[in-house]
């Protein structure tokens, strides 16, 4: 009956947005992602990522969310990183196991979430704790978010090249965000994340890679959603600005358009443009004349100036018996010439990638 009432002209706009409510049903999801990148028509890194997600409401005011992921990475690391060492072709094979636990307590006008994340690889361990609080305005149209997090990472390649031996990195971050429901069909949100990290940042698998032992980062994220009620579709736009103390400046523009066809069917095409400037200590290979031992230096093209485009399409479908499924295909391409500012690495061939993801979900 409420749906019919909301169809009456002008009434929907006066309703307060729904408050963030504790989940009332449990959810179980299986997700599988396959990523394959290639360079010079050669297949390089393959990543297969199965994951399991479980959401459990506990009592009326608590909810527990758990994600368990394993990544199996295989293939060569990017060819040009090894121009000096000549150790090219050594395959990378690694398995990552990661667990994320989050307990959320809901209140009338807000929530507090406590999270713990743990990740284990042969050469990289990470443990992180976070607390995030949200509070809503009396009209439920504005939500403020404040969060803090700490992480403790250990890099140890003693079982392979013995370059990093029990190296450590500590990171602290704070985030502040505000989300405002402008009208029942327009949502605007802004958030800022500041992070400060100290410790070991080098890539132990790259020759002569040496980076500063401090990295301060800032991220500004703006998001806008608009729902077209007449067409049952939603446009999602976002802009992200990233900057750090290594002189990397990055901008991401993303647009997604979700079209529903009723009964749980929908198609979502998306396009993302990303551009970054190079880190101040990045040098294009080959080995530059200006190199001084002990000074920061990296030839990791992930720190070069480049631009990239990602095109994706997602199909969501009801599968019956409480199940639903998503299928997503994405194509990614990175080019030096697509950068919006800074010097690129014109001589370097950058990777392209294909990925597909499949997910099954059920609520109880």
């Amino acid at each position: 009956m409420l749906a019919a009432a909301l169809a009456l002209p002008g009434l929907a706009a006066t309703l307060p947005a729904a408050a963030e409510a504790p989940p009332t049903s449990a959810e179980f999801a299986l997700h599988y992602a396959h990523y394959q990148d290639f360079q010079n028509d050669q297949q390089r890194i393959r990543v297969n990522t199965p994951s399991v997600f479980l959401l459990l409401p506990i009592g009326e005011q608590w909810a527990l969310r758990t994600t368990y992921v394993t990544d199996a990475i295989s293939g060569a690391s990017p060819l040009f990183h090894d121009t000096l060492s000549g150790a090219s072709g050594k395959g990378v094979a690694d398995i990552r196991r990661a667990l994320d636990l989050e307990a959320t307590r809901y209140f009338d006008r807000g929530s507090v979430a406590f999270g713990y994340a743990r990740s284990r690889e042969d050469d990289y361990d990470s443990d992180a704790l976070r607390v995030r609080g949200t509070i809503e305005s009396a009209d439920h149209r504005t939500t403020w978010t404040l969060g803090v997090g700490v992480s403790d990472d250990t890099i140890d390649t003693s079982t392979s090249n013995r370059i990093a031996l029990d190296e450590n990195r500590d990171t602290t971050d704070v985030q502040f965000g505000v989300t405002r429901v402008l009208t029942p069909v327009d949502l605007l949100s802004a958030s800022v994340v500041l992070s400060h990290g100290t410790g070991y940042y080098d890539d132990p698998y790259k020759s002569l890679d040496h980076r500063p032992d401090e990295r301060n980062q800032h991220v500004l994220l703006l998001r806008y959603h608009h729902h077209f009620r007449d067409h049952d579709s939603t446009l999602r736009g976002s802009y992200r600005w990233f900057g750090d103390s290594w002189d990397v400046d990055a901008h991401t523009f993303e647009l997604e358009f979700e079209q529903s066809f009723g009964d749980g069917w929908s198609v979502t095409p998306g396009l993302r443009y990303y551009t970054q400037s190079a880190a101040e200590f990045y040098f294009d290979p080959p080995f530059p004349a200006g190199f001084r031992p002990g000074e920061p230096y990296s030839a990791d093209t992930r720190l070069s100036a480049f631009g990239s485009l990602t095109a994706s399409i997602t199909l969501s479908a009801p599968l019956g018996d409480g199940w639903s499924g998503d299928l997503r295909f994405a194509y990614y391409r990175q080019e030096s010439d697509w950068r919006a500012f800074g010097d690129g690495s014109p001589g370097v061939e950058l990777p392209a990638a294909r990925s597909y993801e499949i997910a099954f979900r059920r609520t109880f």
Partner: protein, 300 residues
């Protein structure tokens, strides 16, 4: 901030809008626009005016289909939904029962008079292919009075919202719509009329947002030979339903609160079960005067 208000009469009821605003001129403009919106709806849907949409539809009964505008179509769709959800108890064709029941005179009609009207009642007989509607035979009538006041309260709130008002209340003859809490974040306090003791209050409901609507057997009624005949008429029989003295429902929109309160009354003694199924906060006084529902604790 100061409290501003406007009082007026519409839809045969005393009406008021109240709002908190720093700017007296803006407040006045908003209040007058809200009142004008209520008067617009009254004129458009009055069954007493031949030039109203309802007048046009009713005059065309038995004739060609009448094409209705978007707002009317949405109102008719809402009524169709209520008809389906209430197993035919909420019916916008039931107004013809007025010809048999005169609550001012207080005369019990004879069984044959009521029965003769029943063929003219039934939403399922109406030919509704939006946006065209046809009442299949002369004598049938459409009456949106059952929820027009509630709709007008919601629309008045929309008008206030468009004028930037965030702390407002609309009360059209007891159908209350709240638009945001008071500026100090405290809720508006809505008093509920006692169904038997006129002038006494039954309870008080606090509302930050949303709507409160009450339906009772005490608006129009008469007593004959020790029996109480109320205006709560079941369109399927044409006779009053004996049941709760009053039902109050709290919902996000006034049309929704009002429709549920009306349908609950039409369920008679099964009203508590119906309200339980609906799941919205409510307050019920049964035929013996016993109070139940979410706000029963605050009832006096």
């Amino acid at each position: 901030m100061e409290l501003h208000r406007i009082d007026f009469r519409a839809m045969a009821s005393p009406c008021e809008c109240q709002l908190w605003c720093e700017d007296a001129v803006r407040a006045r403009t908003a209040l007058e626009a809200a009142r004008d919106e209520v008067l617009r709806i009254e004129a458009k849907y009055s069954r007493y005016r031949d030039d109203s949409v309802i007048g046009t539809i009713n005059r065309g009964a038995g004739g060609a289909p009448v094409r209705v505008d978007e707002e009317t179509a949405a109102l008719i769709e809402f009524a169709a939904r209520c008809y389906a959800d209430s197993d035919g108890r909420f019916d916008i064709t039931s107004g013809v029962l007025r010809r048999a029941w005169n609550f001012r005179e207080g005369i019990v009609p004879d069984v044959a008079t009521v029965a003769a009207l029943l063929p003219s009642i039934g939403w399922d007989r109406v030919e509704w292919h939006a946006p065209e509607l046809r009442l299949p035979h002369a004598g049938m009538e459409l009456d949106l009075g059952g929820y027009g006041k509630e709709y007008a309260a919601d629309r008045a709130a929309s008008v206030l919202a468009v004028h930037g008002m965030r702390h407002a209340l609309v009360n059209l003859g007891g159908d209350v719509r709240v638009l945001g809490p008071r500026p100090d974040a405290r809720p508006w306090r809505v008093a509920i009329q006692h169904p038997r003791d006129e002038g006494a209050l039954l309870a008080e409901i606090e509302a930050h947002d949303g709507a409160v609507a009450t339906s009772g057997d005490y608006e129009r009624w008469f007593e004959r030979d020790g029996r109480r005949y109320s205006h709560v008429l079941d369109p399927r029989t044409g006779w009053p339903v004996a049941g709760p003295r009053s039902v109050t429902v709290v919902a996000p929109l006034c049309v929704v609160a009002g429709a549920h309160a009306t349908i609950a009354m039409l369920h008679g003694d099964d009203a508590p079960a119906y309200l339980e199924r609906v799941g919205l906060p409510h307050l019920l006084v049964d035929r013996e005067g016993r109070v139940s529902g979410h706000f029963a604790a605050s009832a006096r």
